[in-house]
């Protein structure tokens, strides 16, 4: 099939469209029945525990592995064996391990990959990629002499050489210290501002929460997908936590019948957790009721569930289901 057949993707078409995709290695299921779409310019987080199938999904979408079921379109091109070269032209994958040629310099590594991508103006591209990852001053260093964080940056520069439509980052901060991880986060932020579509696999939930427009949680099958705040709302009831100086003599009388308060429970001698349907309505009403009851209020706070809570809740559900 000629590569000329594939033109630029239509406006509004998804960068990645995956429909019931699955991969099985003989009797072991790596992942199955995975469906989602990602728009151009989106940063999409792909979360899951070890062995959930995240890396296998990336490898499948990157044409390194053939799916055993389902279909997908990557950068506007159907995922088929004969389209492998054309898909790989349009995407870039940064594997978990940087995989640099350690005896070669940073520039020599990038020269090799610029040639493999047949990048026009290779020298300019290499310079641009190095500036993007703040490594221009280390261009002639041998990769073997670089720290792990710097090697990750070189790998990221390598992934940028082809100016990809979709950039797959597989656990880009694994094994990095907090400063190096923060640097990678800043780079991803910059790429997002440049409109690069990013498919980020990670099990660092604060990373996904901070960087991603939407996240999917995979545990062999896709457990959920959505914006981090949507997922929190889907999974957890909203609550207000009230702390008073002394226990309320009749808390039921204070909280019953208040607007947007669906129920309450005591969570300590002078701490009360209220299930609410709308925090903005409930909080002022609760405050007024407490003052009217003569209570000394220490705090009224809306409870916050992180993406980590969502993740752990879903994985716990899976673990429980598998024990049954």
């Amino acid at each position: 099939m000629s590569s000329d057949r594939w033109s630029a993707p239509e406006r509004g078409s998804p960068a990645l469209s995956v429909h019931r995709l699955g991969k099985r290695f003989s009797d072991r299921v790596a992942f199955q029945d995975v469906s989602f779409e990602i728009g151009y310019g989106e940063v999409f987080g792909f979360l899951g525990p070890n062995g959930a199938g995240k890396t296998t999904t990336v490898r499948t979408l990157g044409t390194l592995i053939a799916p055993t079921s389902g279909s997908a379109t990557v950068a506007g091109i159907p995922l088929t064996p004969e389209n492998g070269v054309e898909i790989r032209r349009r995407i870039s994958i940064m594997p978990e391990s940087p995989g640099l040629f350690l005896r070669l310099s940073v520039t020599e590594n990038l020269e090799c990959f610029a040639d493999l991508y047949e990048a026009p103006d290779a020298t300019d591209r290499i310079g641009g990629a190095l500036r993007a990852v703040n490594l221009a001053d280390r261009a002639h260093d041998t990769c073997g002499t670089l720290s792990k964080g710097l090697r990750q940056r070189v790998a990221l520069a390598r992934a940028l050489l082809s100016d990809p439509e979709v950039l797959f980052l597989d656990e880009p901060t694994t094994g990095l210290d907090p400063v190096a991880a923060r640097d990678v986060h800043e780079l991803i932020d910059e790429l997002r501002q440049r409109g690069v579509t990013i498919f980020l696999t990670t099990h660092r939930l604060e990373e996904a929460e901070r960087l991603c427009d939407r996240v999917a949680i995979l545990n062999t099958t896709l457990r959920t997908i959505g914006r981090p705040d949507e997922l929190r709302e889907q999974l957890f009831a909203k609550t207000l936590t009230v702390r008073t100086l002394a226990p309320l003599p009749e808390p039921g009388g204070v909280f019953a019948g208040l607007p947007a308060v669906d129920g309450w429970r005591q969570d300590g001698p002078a701490t009360y957790v209220l299930a609410v349907s709308e925090s903005a309505v409930a909080a002022p009403a609760v405050t007024r009721a407490l003052v009217a009851a003569g209570a000394d209020v220490l705090s009224i706070s809306e409870s916050y569930h992180s993406l980590e809570d969502v993740y752990l809740e879903l994985i716990d559900q899976d673990n429980e289901a598998s024990r049954r």
């Binding site: 003989s26 296998t56 490898r59 390194l64 054309e86 995989g99 040629f101 005896r103 991508y117």
Partner: protein, 239 residues
Amino acid sequence: MSKRRVRAIFRKELREYRRNGFIVLTMAVIPLIFLIQPLVVVFALPASAAAGLSNEHLLLYMLGIPAIVPASVAAYAVVGERQQSTLEPVLTTPIRREEFLLGKALAALVPSVAIAYAVYALFLACVELFAAPAVASTLIRGPDLLAQLLFTPLLAGWSIWVGIAISARSSDFRVAQQLGTLVSLPSAVVAALIAFNVIHATLGLALGLAAALLLLDGLGWRIMSATFDRERLITGTRS
């Protein structure tokens, strides 16, 4: 096929050889050892023995060198990259299997042929300088020199494809290296049998062997390209 992508792999490999002198050094050690025994024999020959050598092609013994030299480099070609985690990033680029393999094979061929020719030249120089003149003039013959020039790249090519085939199916570099060396031995044995006139060297035999090796080299590339399995190399399981 993209020449630029083939060149990218070729250039990267040569740069690695240059940075790691041990690679080329270890490639050269075996041929130099190979040189000792025939030199000792030739130096010990009296001038009167020259007549008895006229029907033998002792120089063709050196054809064992291009068969053995590339074995270790070819054995490293795929499994070595896999063990260093450098294979996956390369395979995620638009490179085609045949381009990757050709780049690897050419990069193994160039130093192997250069070393084989250099060792051969050293052998000739030693014979010319230190052997009895009558022995030297009997041993150094035009057809044998031509055979050496012609068969060196052909034998090295065959050895490289066999080595790469083993490398692509091994999970451990050491196993690949040992198997590669073992498998290259039959070519060296055939060269030795011709050198010692057990197999009688004729022009027809030379042309037939050259054609067969040329065909095998071409087939080696095609077969390797067809059976090169990205999925198995990345995951360790067959697609």
